[in-house]
């Protein structure tokens, strides 16, 4: 188990680009758009999904031979709900301000299609180690998109990254603001998140022509 086989590394690397959960599989869009106005919130959300998906995949894979097929959705929901309750309580205890920013979207990790999607598609039919890697890979793919969108939205929208002003001081007019640059406040609002992800998809599909949809 020390060395990852080629198939295993594929499990981690594929979702990062070619099989990305958000831009290709079209899963997990809701939270990707709603909380990416700040880079910090995006990072915390990505880490939360990493925890829930990794651990959830392991648990479901361990139980895969004893879950009756008729109630498997309920079992999956219970496992995810339990893990998300843990994440929510930990966030409320150690990062209260951030949990207020994330608000209901921590709870909505339960219905994050990536998690249920990977449970159904992978964890129910594969071993524990591979399911763990698949969970990590997909969560990483999700996290990359979240961080990219959060980066641009926060940079262009408030001129800060992780709360630290990087383009200069807008009140004292230092840095870029001295030449008349203004923050694009619109970036912090919901429509721009959609358009930024649309542009990301455009870039990704231009670079990899095999992903283009036929009409």
């Amino acid at each position: 188990m020390a060395i990852l086989t080629k198939k295993d590394t594929k499990l981690i690397l594929d979702p990062l680009a070619d099989n990305n959960p958000i831009t290709i599989q079209v899963l997990g869009i809701c939270s990707a758009l709603a909380i990416t106005a700040e880079l910090k919130a995006s990072i915390v959300m990505a880490l939360s999904v990493l925890f829930v998906l990794g651990l959830g995949n392991v648990v479901i894979s361990l139980m895969r031979n004893i879950i009756p097929s008729k109630i498997r959705i309920i079992v999956q929901l219970v496992v995810v709900a339990a893990l998300v309750i843990i994440v929510d309580q930990v966030l409320k205890a150690f990062a209260y301000e951030l949990s207020k920013t994330l608000a209901v979207f921590v709870g909505l990790i339960i219905t994050n299609c990536i998690i249920m999607g990977r449970f159904e598609a992978f964890a129910l039919g594969n071993g524990v180690w591979r399911s763990f890697l698949d969970g990590i890979g997909n969560a990483a793919g999700y996290g990359i998109i979240l961080i990219i969108v959060g980066f641009f939205r926060e940079l262009l929208g408030s001129g800060t990254l992780l709360g630290i002003p990087v383009l200069g001081n807008p009140i004292d007019k230092t840095g870029l603001y001295a030449i008349g640059y203004e923050n694009n406040g619109f970036m912090l609002l919901s429509p721009m998140a959609l358009i930024v992800v649309g542009i990301l998809i455009w870039v990704q599909r231009s670079r990899n022509k095999t992903l283009i949809e036929e009409n």
Binding site: K100, I110, T111, P191, G198, W202, E213
Partner: protein
């Protein structure tokens, strides 16, 4: 009565589930290729929301809230079971969706077949759980208002998916650049529609008491307030230093 009307229109246009809070995007994107399936899914979402939000309101009111268990006896008044909200809400939703599935299969097999996998997937549609969670976060006051909220949120979602399905059917004949075809252009169009829906924000600026706190816009105005305060502080500091000199 007026607050019912206000909540109704607010939930459809201003706090639209798709355009303001991005709930239910996955099925919104996946099912919107044809108007017929979009209408079917939208109707199912309205029905499930209208049923689950009041049910979850009852659960929240009498079991989950801080001090909600007081009706069992005064010694239970200190219990706060709100950490169980997620699991109880999702349980009611899964049950109700199963019920809706059985009813639809019995009364309209055509609709059942056209919806296919998406009917059971409504159980994990963020719009449904999101409706209940927002109902809890905004502390909706009565059962009637909860039903109103569920129904109108569903109608807002239905409106959104209907519009995007109609547009997608039309742009099939347009000259969209290949990398943008399908998913990319849908995102951008949804973004433009969201901008359009933002124009409804000025609709209910009546002089009544402020509506229930909305997480996103309240947090944004807080952000503006804190940046304004910071600006005032820093302006005050620089004025003082100038005066000293």
């Amino acid at each position: 009565m007026l607050e019912h009307v206000e909540l109704f229109f607010k939930s459809i246009f201003i706090d639209n589930m798709v355009f303001a809070t991005f709930l239910g995007m996955c099925s919104y994107l996946a099912v919107s290729k044809k108007v017929a399936t979009a209408v079917g899914l939208g109707a199912a979402v309205i029905f499930v929301l209208a049923v689950t939000v009041p049910l979850n309101w009852l659960l929240d009111q009498y079991i989950l809230r801080d001090g909600a268990l007081a009706w069992l006896g005064p010694e239970y008044a200190d219990y706060n079971l709100s950490f169980l909200s997620f699991i109880l809400f999702i349980a009611t939703i899964a049950t109700m969706v199963q019920l809706v599935e059985i009813v639809v299969e019995k009364f309209s097999p055509a609709l059942y077949n056209s919806l296919g996998i998406f009917l059971p997937l409504i159980a994990v549609n963020c719009a449904i759980l999101g409706g209940s969670l927002f109902m809890q976060a905004r502390e909706i006051a009565t059962l009637g208002l909860a039903f109103n909220y569920g129904l109108s949120s569903g109608i807002g979602w239905f409106l959104a998916i209907l519009a995007i399905a109609a547009i997608r059917e039309k742009i099939r004949y347009s000259n969209v650049p290949p990398p943008l075809r399908g998913l990319g252009i849908t995102f951008i169009i949804t973004g433009l529609m969201a901008i359009g829906f933002m124009s409804f924000g000025g609709m209910l600026t009546g002089g009544d008491e402020a509506p229930a706190p909305e997480p996103t816009t309240a947090q944004k105005s807080e952000k503006e307030k804190t940046t304004l305060e910071k600006e005032e502080q820093e302006n005050a500091v620089s004025y003082n230093t100038i005066v000293k000199e």
